[in-house]
Subunit: 383 residues, 2 copies
Amino acid sequence: MVSSQASRFRMTRGRERWRTLSLLVARLRELLLVTAPASSWRELLGSDLPIIQAPMAGVQDHVLAVAVCEAGALGSLPAALMSPVVLEGALRKLSAGTSRPYNVNFFCHVPPRPDAERERNWRRLLLPYYKELGVDPEAASSGPARTPFSEEIADIVEPFRPRVVSFHFGLPSSELLGRVRKWGSMIISSATTVDEALWLEAHGVHAVIAQGFEAGGHRGMFLTNDVATQVGTFALLRQIVRAVECPVIATGGIADAEGVRAAMALGATAAQVGTAYLLCPESTTSTVHRAALSSEVARTTAITNVFSGRPARGIVNRLMRELGYLTDSAPSFPLAASALSPLRVAAEKAGSGDFSPMWCGQNATGCRELPAAVITRELAAGL
Amino acid sequence: MVSSQASRFRMTRGRERWRTLSLLVARLRELLLVTAPASSWRELLGSDLPIIQAPMAGVQDHVLAVAVCEAGALGSLPAALMSPVVLEGALRKLSAGTSRPYNVNFFCHVPPRPDAERERNWRRLLLPYYKELGVDPEAASSGPARTPFSEEIADIVEPFRPRVVSFHFGLPSSELLGRVRKWGSMIISSATTVDEALWLEAHGVHAVIAQGFEAGGHRGMFLTNDVATQVGTFALLRQIVRAVECPVIATGGIADAEGVRAAMALGATAAQVGTAYLLCPESTTSTVHRAALSSEVARTTAITNVFSGRPARGIVNRLMRELGYLTDSAPSFPLAASALSPLRVAAEKAGSGDFSPMWCGQNATGCRELPAAVITRELAAGL
């Protein structure tokens, strides 16, 4: 009895010591993290400036990436909508256009099984719009496919050995990720919650992108699908910086030099900026999208799944309003896009963005019709 | 014909000149705003530090406000849940407790007309919970009433002449606002969109609080009720600073010195911090609320209307999950609260926060069981 009590006492004391030590280590780490300068973006990105031009599938190609790289920031090539052949061509042009480091971005979603009934319901829901625009419902093309990162794509990318490879919607399989690591690219991916950041770090990324609620385009969310609990940049960045040991890149709502500096004051190693580049002559942003970005309607954006099946932030337009920003009717990502494609084409021909995804973050004040080099230099002012 | 053409030409030229002039003025103003230092918080708030302790009805009284004022920041007394008698007592204790400036906060909603059918439906929806907790549905008290700012309340406040009077949900009538202005208080109010900020400025506030999506408690929204288009602090602050001429106070997701500094780098004159004070011994935060704030569940918050009828951010709990964060079933603000009150009391007695509004911003990392003076000094570190 006595000996059992003594041993329990020893165990308790041991546990207490362990707990005290753990708390001490945690506190020390916190102090170090809060006071130590963020590890240099140069080691991570290889660029002169701590700025990444956000990869924006559908509104840019290698031209914007080259211009940003040449201005000293990290330009990005969005590969999500590119076929292997197109991707190879774009990589050739990108690497011919600049000798500076660049980023290539891939989606890594699990392709959904097509669901004939859901697709039928979706097309039925859109039928009144087809009638209104005089579009043949049978003409619904399959549109550009969004394919996830794969061995085939890795084969194309490997010879180019991009300085940075970024992923959206988590990470590819550990085998595929191993290939990218082996050929020497820095691997980064988006987290929209602290849990996602911890998961990415545990799976070996070199840096985490803290994608705040403000960010335009697709949410990188992959461990949750609850849009209502997504976190604003200010709160998310700070918590991820405290939670992980790897560098953290801030994105969402950053549109000027003050924003970049504030992100770095909050512990970011670099800032990723997308929306501010949308009006650049080097972007391929459509006319209706440009018009919306240049007007006050750009102040009102919402996260919607109507355009692709996955939550993404865009300027509120007619389709979003009429179907509801988030609807259970939309087929799984990326299947929702196909049926919309002919509506979008017809409406845009008539000068209307009613059926177009006009991706945009919550701060479009940085959008100006200026060369990407000027935008980049302005973002870096005072660093 | 010629003369008509000439006159049209003159008009066009006049309009063009006007447009060029407007653009020039806008550009100049932008340059000045971006480069000029924010006007001093001392003139506005009268406090040593550019920090406002956010008024938090239900979790604090004058004790927290006194402690914060004495530490050099602006303490706030939330009056929304106080009867006139209680408010008078609290103001006496607050002004006796500190000779420094303080803020008194009022709601200024339009009280709803009670809707018997909606109330019946709401109670029917909650009936299974009454049964589960063994609470008599007839016992549903009316709970503490949230009354808007009024002549009667103004009579009580006037003799105290608080340095700052802050409003939530817009502003009171121009007559009432005129009284407050006349007795010399600085008037501030929350904006959740650029439009709301412009409206507040046009109605004569001395400063606008940019309340980002991250902020805990009730959203100040009053020109929109679309929660999905609410804007993160990073994006909102920057846009409001560019849109208005008066000082802007940042709130939402700010929980440490880095956050305060980042907000000021984005152009804020001061930062308003609430959540970080919730575990202070001077707060009256409930036991279940404190437990949630101290655990990882505090990472998951959402904007919900189930507790009061108006959107407010709190830690996700059972009631929010089961009814949906935002439901059309909840009676209008503040009527939804009454039927919930007995459930909350019974559950809290059993140690559960399942039916309690546990208001919390998206960044609870600043919450520690430390005196409010310590929290305040830490927030101001390095300023």
